[in-house]
């Protein structure tokens, strides 16, 4: 059991990193990576929502959709669960943990349309994980997202002082540096834990 969970964790963080290998969540990856502190806020919000989304979509999937043989409604059901969840988390934080709310503030609504969150829910359902496996996969997926985002943000902060052709300004140079990061993560492919 523990080994299985370790496998899932290593897979989600390094081997099958959501951003750099699976290409999910590229929009926040490129959008909020200009500064380290915004990148950190976004990452924490993503870890939080991805874990909760894994838990709730697992419940909806196993207790509601499968017994009723409504698997083809997964996409609609999951996106509704995620949208409602994000809204609830936002309201809850606003009332009870205002300091965290003001830190995560603007990132929370953006997460509804983060492919990594819907992606992890769909992948969990596809792999028919158990409850604990699904939770760990969601949490570790978020950790993998954080790792890639923080690495990338620290690279991008230094890019401001770099000298590159003018037409590469903005996104292109960011994409080229992301390519180099992805190259580094390719080194993990094929890594297995026994």
């Amino acid at each position: 059991m523990l080994i299985r969970l370790l496998q899932i964790s290593l897979g989600a963080i390094l081997v099958e990193n959501f951003i750099l290998v699976k290409f999910m969540g590229i929009c926040p990856f490129l959008g909020v990576s200009k500064k380290m502190d915004t990148a950190f806020g976004m990452s924490m919000a993503v870890i939080f929502v991805m874990t909760l989304a894994s838990i709730f979509t697992w419940m909806v999937d196993v207790w509601l959709l499968r017994p009723l043989e409504l698997e083809y409604m997964q996409t609609v059901a999951f996106i509704l669960v995620i949208a409602a969840l994000v809204q609830l988390v936002e309201m809850f934080l606003q009332k009870s943990v205002p300091s965290l709310y003001s830190a995560l503030g603007i990132y929370l609504p953006l997460i509804t349309t983060n492919c990594a969150v819907l992606g992890v829910a769909l992948l969990n359902a596809e792999a028919s994980y158990t409850f604990i496996e699904a939770t760990v996969s969601g949490f570790m997926g978020g950790v993998g997202f954080t790792l890639a985002l923080l690495l990338f943000a620290s690279v991008r902060e230094r890019l401001q002082f770099a000298d590159y052709p003018k037409c590469f300004e903005g996104f292109p140079i960011a994409l080229v540096s992301a390519a180099l990061l992805a190259l580094a993560f390719m080194g993990f492919s094929g890594l297995e834990v026994f």
Partner: protein, 220 residues
């Protein structure tokens, strides 16, 4: 901004066709969703390893975008402002499920190779962005045309990327060998790295062309 300009143009010239042509020019070139507006990056990077996948993805998004723009525009006066995003997402999710099931039934091979990226069309920023910025403010026919134009622009840039990646990465085009033994395929182009690199260089090229165009205008 664009829509307002277009509306005044339409009033001045009274040309329905001209406005439509303008919309297509916007979708495919001036406001190209991936290369200029920089929306919908995930499928752009993930599904462009082969031309076939890119075309399949592009056309699926075009279908969903056209239908969702049409329906959202028809319902634009009924949907309350506070819950509009949630309503848009539900409408889009419905169409995505339909496309998903259709692809699985009629082109199972394509459906298998696109995999999870078909359901992920729901969270494609292009669709929500067009719903919010265009379909919620414009009449149904105009919005449907906008969906087709933007979808085609998306398809074009995906195809351009996949041609580069497939030809350089596996030496084939739509599955046919085009390397003729002249060059060795560079596998790096079909890996994640190649996706980031190709997109970076394409956007850089686009920015170069655009800046040249604006310079010319200034000179005139």
């Amino acid at each position: 901004m664009v829509t307002q300009k277009e509306k005044t143009v339409e009033k001045k010239r009274g040309g329905w066709l001209r406005t439509t042509a303008g919309q297509f020019a916007d979708g495919i070139w001036r406001q190209n969703p991936t290369l200029v507006l920089l929306l919908g990056m995930c499928p752009t990077l993930a599904t462009t390893t082969t031309v076939q996948n890119a075309l399949g993805m592009g056309l699926s998004v075009t279908a969903v975008l056209t239908c969702s723009n049409l329906v959202i525009s028809l319902l634009r006066k009924l949907i309350p402002n506070q819950i509009r995003i949630a309503s848009y997402i539900v409408i889009v999710a419905g169409f995505v499920t339909a496309v998903d099931l259709l692809l699985a039934a009629f082109v199972p091979a394509l459906s298998a190779s696109l995999g999870i990226f078909i359901p992920l069309i729901v969270v494609n920023c292009i669709i929500l962005a067009r719903a919010e910025s265009f379909a919620s403010k414009n009449p149904p026919l105009r919005s449907a045309i906008d969906g087709v134009a933007m979808g085609l622009g998306f398809t074009c840039s995906l195809t351009a990327m996949s041609v580069i990646r497939e030809v350089l990465g596996s030496g084939t085009f739509l599955g046919y060998d085009v390397s003729f033994g002249v060059f060795e395929p560079m596998a790096i182009f079909i890996m994640p790295v190649g996706g980031f690199l190709t997109l970076g260089f394409l956007i850089a090229a686009m920015q170069k062309i655009m800046s040249r165009g604006s310079k010319k205008k200034e000179a005139e």
